[in-house]
Symmetry: C2
Subunit: 484 residues, 2 copies
Amino acid sequence: MVERKPIHKYDLIVLGSGPAGEKGAAQAAYFGKKVAIVERDYYLGGSAASTAIPSKTLRETSLALSGIRARRLHGVDLALKRRATVQDFLHHERKVKDAERNRVMNNILHHNIAIFKGKGSFVDERTIKIEARGKAPELLKGDIILIATGSFPRRPDNFPKDPRIYDSNSILRIKIMPKNMVVAGGGIIGCEYACTFAALGVDVSLVHNKDILLPFLDRDISFALENSMLKMGINLLMPESVESCNVKANRMEIRLGSGEVRRTEAVMLATGRTSNTGELNLEAAGITPGKYGLLVVDQNYQAIHPKTRKPVQGIYAAGDVIGAPALASTSMEQARFAMIKAFNLEPYKKHVAPILPLGIYTIPECSLAGKTEQELREEKIDYVVGKAAYNKNARGMIIGERDGFLKLIFEFNKDLSRPMKLLGIHVIGENASELIHIGVSALIMGASSNLFIDTCFNYPTLGELYKYATYDAMGNRAKHLQSE
Amino acid sequence: MVERKPIHKYDLIVLGSGPAGEKGAAQAAYFGKKVAIVERDYYLGGSAASTAIPSKTLRETSLALSGIRARRLHGVDLALKRRATVQDFLHHERKVKDAERNRVMNNILHHNIAIFKGKGSFVDERTIKIEARGKAPELLKGDIILIATGSFPRRPDNFPKDPRIYDSNSILRIKIMPKNMVVAGGGIIGCEYACTFAALGVDVSLVHNKDILLPFLDRDISFALENSMLKMGINLLMPESVESCNVKANRMEIRLGSGEVRRTEAVMLATGRTSNTGELNLEAAGITPGKYGLLVVDQNYQAIHPKTRKPVQGIYAAGDVIGAPALASTSMEQARFAMIKAFNLEPYKKHVAPILPLGIYTIPECSLAGKTEQELREEKIDYVVGKAAYNKNARGMIIGERDGFLKLIFEFNKDLSRPMKLLGIHVIGENASELIHIGVSALIMGASSNLFIDTCFNYPTLGELYKYATYDAMGNRAKHLQSE
């Protein structure tokens, strides 16, 4: 007698329960689809819950415990950092992580989504096998499959295995606060951690292979961030590279491309991420991942054959697994949009969020939406810039933020009686990632300079910066016209 | 020989250099008008710089020094309050106040506005006499006069004069932190100070003559604020009134309307304000102020005769001097708009900011823009509510804000395929006065629920609350339709 395996049938099978997986699954379930979510980890929530949220929590805690904020406010040093143990430091992080994991679990259960714990892999284009230790494999069949398995930190070959060499996963389990640290990689994760540890009093060196930090930011913001990091005492080694890392008993020796050797107690690798696609048996679905395991998708987030460029019907991918921008915020949007397309839910959501802001949790925060000056120059679009500084804003003075500013870019328009179209918003300073949203809504609605002139902002708030940056841009337009 | 007094001529004379005066003067000067500003105080900036900003700074400092934020984050009590002297507490406040006064001065000088220090009063409808100690009076003639002289705290008769009985001016010069305090008056100022002093460990009792706090807020927010204040240990005595205040050597005895007697070390009066119009010799301009010295204005902020209801050509008034809402934010808008009207600068600004948000700096902050539920019920407009809680939001969890929420109100719309128009935004929680601005722009542009669905919010941010409150409203609409 041949035993037949039961096959569970679903409208949608989602691989991974991070931001893309959770929101994609919830979106489909909200519209009555039968959904299963497969998670190989013990916890739900993916790396947003396990590393992104904790890293932001750590940042917040470092600001509070290190006394940076209090010092700005009172000239009083409230710093606990000499006394704070790493455990104090991580106390709140664990609470927040647990809460976020619970939130994801509750959301999934609330939407009546079936949860399968185990390693999922393709049997064919519509069938997923789930393997979990101590259990017989299970088979799921889905009309639609959403791959949202995320990515993991890539460790370059020139670093040996050593417990003092951390990546963005293991850094959150750090036991002893080191005196000094070399951060390898000046991308978003590298810059964020460099700031957090510098705030905690660690002597941080950041090795970055370009001559500018985060070059996708508007130059003004990149330079301002560089200045702030230097002021915090971070050693910015750029452009620079790591040749080798030599592990000794009581220290590590980092040989740099320039020949210089740095001794350090700890290394943090922020050298890119690789997609979690190696164990998915993608060949069975006719998909071959690209470099670093990246999946290639079309404008609807449907997977495509990298060679034939043809879509693989019914298989979608979203989030870190498809690469940049690889942010929780964008991952959620991608997954929601993919499910709208997959299930023809058009009336609900016609297009993917047209503006994708970037929020970077350095100290201070940076954020961007729309065009940068360098992009507009390349596109040969005439523009006018307006700026407003935190230290001339009442709320900025109250919170003691000295170097932050908001920069607005408008389309240049000779007719002084006509408003100017908003093209880009750039912020550096406390709460930048929140402050940007006023501009994001404005961009989405195609707003002009009139919007911020017509807006009454609460006083004292940072929101007022929008009005004063707009005034500044109007003044700059007038000056520009006079000089013509 | 008769000595002829020189008369200085201006396009605009502004009385008062607070937010209304500064912005009105700057607006006119920006368009090339010759402007004079008259200030009777030693410092520029009015009560926004001398009391509003300092009170918000005090609030920020109390949050930092009292350790409320740190305790939420780490369960560690960083509180300095047992050790902090009042002077520590006020250190930052003075710095910020000075910076704001300098900012106003620089802005006025930057716009080439003449400053006259002294008491200004009307000689006739176009002439202002300036009297300063030790100087001969000067006369100014203006085509337009803007009265922006603000208001001062009103002291009711049932309170004697005593240094331990503070108002919102003198409280900022407090020398000794009292063990307990009775705050008389449950308006915005009363609620704000009650929270700040409670955060500093003072045992605060708030006497309020209504049975609901800040009844112009949406009920949900009023109740949530009441809960938060009770949790902080504030004794809310409402509805309640003060019969008498009996001053003893080592304490004061407050007899309440209910007959109860409260003993207290300090009293803070937050019992309304009176307009600074008594010394303006308004009769010479044909103007009679109303109750509490309030000036009456038309829709263009032109002063009107309270009896004939006819406008007094060329005389405008803005800010606290014309009464509610009496916020710095709205005062600035009023003055800018008045000057646009006075000088026919229409192409620049067609209408006063159509949406006036309220920002209330209690702990936690509250903010409102657009309609409340109670207003919509009165206007018989069908609506749907959506809410999102800070403690289910990643950023809310990180900052440890437990009770905050965003509430959106949309116009009810039976057609599920159509978006719903945004009508009102209500927030309680940290940064509420900033967070509201996303919704303010949306309201101004006539946005619908689609805007927040289409917006990609940075993660983790409080801004995301807009998306989840919108989802909640959409779910509530669907439920409502099912139950019909």
